[in-house]
């Protein structure tokens, strides 16, 4: 039996089983929630959900029969990845409340910190802050003024 290090791949059985089970849950849910739809509207989602169920079951069975391998995921900091996900989620929800500009400036600053691996010198902080503000300002203007996109101003400010 080859070890994980020699092949630079991982045993895919546990992950395939998790994937299969999650997909089975989704497919079952899709079938359950299609009950109150009209016949015309439910035909397609039910067919697809059934197919998804079959494929996922096949994947589950396969994981017990053969020994699939998967590529080792890219290395790197888990904390920073989760941090990026958190910032992006907060950003997307904050648009409506904080307004586009405020939410974007704060989140962009947070992302800059997350993506930076060197020491922060006052010069660098200043330089990056100006550069980021300029990029965001330019694109904000492009969308809001030139392209006339009604970007949210922020419900929070309206109440003040």
């Amino acid at each position: 039996m080859a070890t994980d290090h020699e092949t630079s791949t991982l045993d895919a059985r546990p992950s395939d089983r998790v994937l299969a089970v999650v997909m089975i849950v989704i497919a079952t849910g899709a079938i359950v929630f299609s009950r109150d739809m009209s016949i015309m509207a439910s035909v397609f989602p039910r067919t697809i959900a059934t197919l998804l169920l079959v494929f996922s079951a096949a994947l589950l069975i396969k994981s017990f029969v053969v020994h699939p391998r998967r590529a080792r995921p890219e290395p790197g900091s888990v904390g920073r990845r989760l941090g990026l996900i958190a910032v992006m989620l907060v950003w997307s929800f904050a648009l409506k409340w904080l307004g586009f500009l405020a939410a974007s400036l704060i989140s962009a600053a947070a992302l800059a910190v997350l993506a930076h691996y060197h020491a922060w010198t006052p010069r660098r902080v200043g330089g990056y802050a100006i550069a980021l503000a300029a990029i965001i300002g330019a694109f904000y203007t492009l969308f809001a003024v030139v392209l006339n996109v009604p970007l949210p101003v922020g419900l929070l400010w309206r109440q003040l």
């Binding site: 509207a41 998967r70 790197g76 409506k96 586009f100 989140s107 993506a115 990056y128 990029i135």
Partner: protein, 503 residues
């Protein structure tokens, strides 16, 4: 000859200037992930009210041409297709950029886009009325089979296990049913939320599924986003030219496929580049290199998707049925200007039509110098900008771009959530492409199926409706081919080995 003189109108200095501005604006806009060609064209419509119709059309056409090509930058440099038509560009363009050949990929995409654009415009000029009749032959049932064909292609193309490709496609198909259904007017899987009524918007899903995983992996390590190119290499024009020459049949075939498939309103663009890509891979002596940075992959998709510009105008002009969303905006602008589409576009209104086509040719040719210039800067800035600025800038563009598609803040939430889900799924072996294709082709498949069923019922034979028309049989044959060919090839490469070992 008379037509030629109409085309020459497009070369007047002011029209030429408009074409230059249009192409540059289009490239710039679409190069940013999330800014769409539809939006660029829509914003310009009021500006064109004051212009003579020819000038207006040239400007709109030039923007559209530039935008479709500009979409390849984001696909190559950030792995994010700006339009469904650029999905396959990411397959080889991004790996090329990662290993330091981003400049070559951009040069190739520029040359290919020009070739594709020229072939598409030529078809529009010479074959439009004929091809439009073919488009009409495609009924609901044919669209249903075409969607199935597209799905089998993507599952075969996706890296790793075909089973996971099908699972991804199934998930995308289910996502496509969220919201108010066209048939039956049911509200499906909205779980009481008014925001889910509009369903999952395709472009925001594209941005989320492709761009968010790139961002997530960007912050995880200190290493550079793309391999920097060697010093003083320039735009690698000569290298690009010789690769184009090597792939000339590939380019020609892809351009023809792109034009032909694009005449089908609604479905064309996204399927065209996939078909070209899979054909290129099937016939290439280096087919095992596809997906790992093979230049022919970039050539195939970029020729095909720019050929769809000319191809998409065929049903728009001849039938008054827009082939793509930007076509719909241009059609609207035409109606407001007082022009009626239809055969008269090629008889009584011939002046406007041919000037427009002339403008398309100019815009396409201009793409080469303008594109190489802008492309060089785009590539250089992506490579040299520090990560701490690159990550927030790309993230900001995904957010503002997604918002602007439907002016809906909830779409941004959906984009981010899908991106995170897509990142997790791709670690489990389910890649984004099948999911997105499921999302795009789902409505086509569903509507085609139910409409076909209803029509079959009315005529007394449902089986006859689905299997009785020659055109649908031809597409079914293609479906079978795309499913069976990989199996056959796998069997053929395995069997000699087995014979040697076993017997």
């Amino acid at each position: 000859m008379e037509n030629l003189s109409f085309m020459m109108v497009a070369f007047s200095p002011i029209n030429f200037l408009l074409a230059v501005l249009g192409v540059a604006a289009g490239i710039f806009i679409e190069a940013l992930p999330g800014l769409s060609a539809t939006m660029a064209v829509a914003v310009l419509v009021p500006v064109t009210f004051g212009m003579p119709p020819e000038a207006a059309l040239i400007m709109l056409g030039a923007i559209y041409t530039g935008a479709i090509y500009g979409g390849s930058y984001a696909a190559i440099l950030v792995n994010t297709p700006g339009t469904p038509a650029a999905i396959a560009t990411t397959f080889d363009g991004y790996p090329m950029a990662q290993r330091g050949d981003g400049d070559l990929a951009v040069t190739l995409s520029t040359m290919s886009s020009m070739v594709g654009g020229l072939v598409g415009a030529l078809a529009l000029l010479t074959l439009a009325p004929l091809l439009a009749q073919v488009a009409l032959k495609f009924g609901s049932v044919e669209y249903f089979w075409l969607a199935i064909f597209g799905l089998t292609l993507i599952s075969a193309l996706s890296e790793g296990s075909a089973l996971k490709g099908f699972i991804g496609a199934g998930l995308g198909l289910l996502l496509s049913t969220v919201g108010v259904s066209v048939i039956g007017a049911d509200i499906r899987y909205a779980f009481g939320s008014q925001f889910l009524l509009g369903g999952v918007e395709v472009i925001s899903a594209l941005i989320g599924l492709y761009c968010i995983p790139v961002l997530i992996d960007l912050v995880a390590t200190p290493s550079a986003h793309l391999e920097p190119p060697e010093e003083g290499r320039g735009i690698r024009f000569g290298e690009g030219l010789s690769l184009m020459w090597r792939g000339k049949f590939n380019a020609l075939r892809s351009a023809i496929i792109g034009t032909a498939v694009a005449i089908l309103p609604g479905a064309g663009g996204s399927i065209a580049s996939l078909v070209s890509y899979s054909e290129a891979r099937r016939t290439s002596p280096r087919s095992d290199q596809f997906g790992k940075g093979e230049p022919d992959g970039v050539i195939a998709t970029e020729t095909a998707n720019n050929a769809t510009v000319g191809g998409g105008f065929i049903p728009t002009f001849v039938l008054g049925i827009p082939g793509t969303p930007p076509d719909a905006v241009i059609l609207g602008a035409l109606l407001v200007q007082g022009f009626r589409t239809g055969p008269e576009m090629f008889t009584t209104n011939v002046g406007v039509t041919y000037t427009f086509i002339g403008g398309l040719f100019i815009a396409t040719l201009l793409m080469l110098p303008i594109g190489l210039l802008i492309g060089r800067y785009a590539f250089k800035s992506i490579v040299s900008i520090p990560k701490a600025l690159l990550v927030p800038s790309i993230a900001f563009m995904t957010i503002i771009g997604t918002y602007a598609i439907r002016n809906n803040p909830f779409d941004v939430v959906v984009m981010v959530v899908l991106g995170v889900v897509g990142w997790v799924l791709s670690r489990y072996g389910v890649k984004p492409s099948p999911i997105v294709l499921g999302l795009i082709l789902g409505p086509i498949a569903e509507q085609g199926f139910v409409q076909g069923y209803l029509m079959g019922n009315a005529s007394g034979s449902v089986m006859g409706a689905f299997f009785g028309r020659p055109l649908s049989l031809a597409i079914i044959a293609l479906v079978l081919l795309s499913v069976l060919f990989p199996l056959w090839r796998a069997w053929r490469t395995r069997s000699p080995k087995e014979t040697a070992n076993g017997h």
